[in-house]
């Protein structure tokens, strides 16, 4: 067998039963290559949510009646299941939020009042998603702190020497992504944590693009805060989480006030509920949590090492085949250092035009700045085209991408 055929064989079939994904199953000619934006949802997730609403729906933590107790149990059992999936031992330090963006805003807002003042420093990296960039930038502007960006080394990886220079003793926050959403670069978390620990900073890891793709082992990362989204790991939209070390959460003021998060409400002052409720004001998204727990279960049955291996196989095959399309430049480090993401430019063709032609072949890719404008500036591009792979993709999807890219060259008048 020739080398390309071997690469193809390694990712010939999806590692899930496509029947589990109605949307993909019912559209034979769809090649969904935008899982870094959001994943498709398996039936198990949708069924778990539906049966919650059909069998256990009531407001949790409130009613004295049995149904409310069932709802509370469904919610808290989901928290335990997801914490186990994440590798978080202290279950009550997992706060449910709407997702990564809300988690980071909670953190930046709650952390700010007590801990960052004028003259302090906040460090982020050049490859952050806007959600892990703007909240810190705005915090710095609000309190008069210094906002510093750790730059990239050649090849689209973080420059650890520059990061070390950025981490001065007055640094109060170091925020970084576990995996770049735009390039797929897998960051060396232990090196980053070691450097950040030379300061007294809050160390924040954005795991939105990490959790879906390999064993997150959050406790073992040694960070202070870890955030993620459910919808990028087969779960529903509108649920995600924030994991923070207990002593930090206990010292942090609440982010929102209202029902469920209080202990006693006096006429002129109030006290707060215990964790995790202190940070979950209002009626929670129970069905979302139940759906996310079902997604964690689904991924655990596959096994995260298999997920990682399948993505790596797809990436290897795609990388080899992309060389057939002249004018393609893949951005970022070599495939071995990336999650299942290939971000590229094609000669003078604008990514929007590429995505349009690809769409006509049923190939769904993301085009644009990927909510990472600071990174695009550093790479000296305005936009890229990004294909991202997941458990339900296979070699046919890669083949369709390549054929559609050749059509794009033709259609856009490139020789």
């Amino acid at each position: 067998m020739n080398p390309l055929a071997i690469l193809r064989k390694d990712c010939e079939r999806p590692i899930v039963d496509i029947d589990d994904f109605s949307l993909l199953d019912e559209r034979d000619h769809l090649h969904y290559l935008d899982s870094a934006a959001t994943t498709q949802k398996p039936r198990a997730v949708l069924q778990a949510m539906q049966s919650y609403y059909e069998q256990h729906n009531a407001n949790p933590h409130r009613g004295a009646y049995e149904l409310s107790a069932q709802s509370t149990e469904a919610y808290e059992r989901s928290r335990q299941r997801i914490a186990r999936f994440l590798g978080v031992a202290d279950v009550d330090t997992l706060i449910f939020t709407r997702g990564t963006t809300e988690s980071l805003n909670v953190l930046a807002t709650a952390w700010r009042h007590a801990n960052v003042k004028a003259g302090d420093r906040i460090v982020v990296t050049r490859m952050e998603h806007h959600a892990n960039f703007i909240p810190w930038q705005q915090l710095a502007l609000a309190v008069g702190a210094e906002f510093v960006i750790a730059e990239l080394a050649p090849g689209g990886v973080l420059d650890l020497d520059h990061l070390a220079q950025c981490c001065t003793p007055n640094t109060k926050v170091v925020a970084f992504g576990q995996v770049s959403n735009a390039l797929g670069t897998i960051n060396p978390v232990s090196d980053i944590v070691r450097i950040a620990r030379t300061t007294g900073a809050l160390v924040v890891c954005d795991g939105a693009q990490g959790v879906p793709h390999f064993d997150a082992a959050v406790d073992a990362l040694g960070v202070d805060a870890y955030v993620f989204s459910g919808h990028k790991m087969l779960g529903p939209m509108g649920i995600g989480g924030l994991v923070v070390r207990r002593e930090i959460l206990e010292a942090m003021p609440p982010y929102q006030f209202g029902g469920d998060m209080i202990a006693l409400v006096g006429d002129d002052r109030s006290t707060w509920n215990v964790l995790p409720h202190k940070f979950e004001a209002g009626t929670p998204n129970v069905a979302g949590a139940v759906g996310l727990a079902a997604a964690a279960q689904y991924l655990d049955v596959i096994g995260m090492p298999r997920v990682r291996a399948h993505e790596a196989a797809l990436l290897a095959y795609a990388s080899a085949r992309l060389t057939e399309v002249s004018g393609v430049t893949v951005l970022g480090p070599p495939p071995e250092q990336r999650s299942g993401v290939v971000s590229f430019v094609l000669d003078e063709v604008h990514p929007h035009d590429i995505a349009q032609v690809l769409d006509s072949a049923g190939v769904c890719v993301r085009s644009g700045h990927h909510c990472a404008q600071p990174l695009m500036r550093a790479l000296k591009v305005t936009a890229t085209t990004r294909a991202s792979f997941y458990v339900y993709n296979d070699a046919d999807d890669v083949d369709a991408l390549i054929v559609a890219l050749l059509t794009t060259r033709d259609r856009m008048g490139l020789a």
Binding site: H350, V357, S360, H369, T382, A383, R411, M412
Partner: protein, 142 residues
């Protein structure tokens, strides 16, 4: 490839994308304005020079997809030398065409933009330079 896609990327569009007309900075403009598509980061600047109530010159620069670049290029050809009233009429006709309300009164190369109406997501791309042109007129010192 679909017929609709063929209609979107007509050769006139591809030509204007590769060799945009009036693609330059104007030093002595009466006014200019920026257009930005925050969704994709596309950006255009349009300069206008007025002579009385007539558009004596119009130019643009920027980065964008083939549709936005070609549309801006066609815009400069369409309004150059026209009066402010005529410019408004051309703008309204363009807008009606790309939003699928018919191509009545559309002449010349602008006809090539009719395919945009089949792709609602691309109306924003096609309109970027046109809205910047309107804003530049609003900013123009008489």
């Amino acid at each position: 490839m679909s017929a609709e896609l063929e209609e979107l990327y007509q050769s006139i569009i591809l030509d204007h994308n590769r060799r945009p007309q009036n693609f330059r900075v104007m030093e002595d403009a009466s006014g200019h304005a920026d257009g930005l598509n925050p969704l994709c980061g596309d950006q255009v600047t349009v300069w206008i020079k007025l002579d009385g109530d007539r558009v004596a010159d119009v130019s643009f620069q920027g980065q964008g997809c083939a549709i936005s670049k070609a549309s801006a290029s066609l815009m400069t050809q369409a309004v150059k030398g026209k009066t402010l009233t005529e410019t408004q009429v051309i703008f309204d006709r363009f807008h009606a065409m790309v939003t699928g309300q018919g191509a009545e009164g559309i002449t010349g190369g602008m006809k090539a933009l009719s395919g945009v109406s089949k792709f609602p997501l691309r109306v924003k791309c096609a309109s970027l330079g046109w809205h910047a042109m309107k804003a530049a007129l609003d900013n123009a010192a008489p």
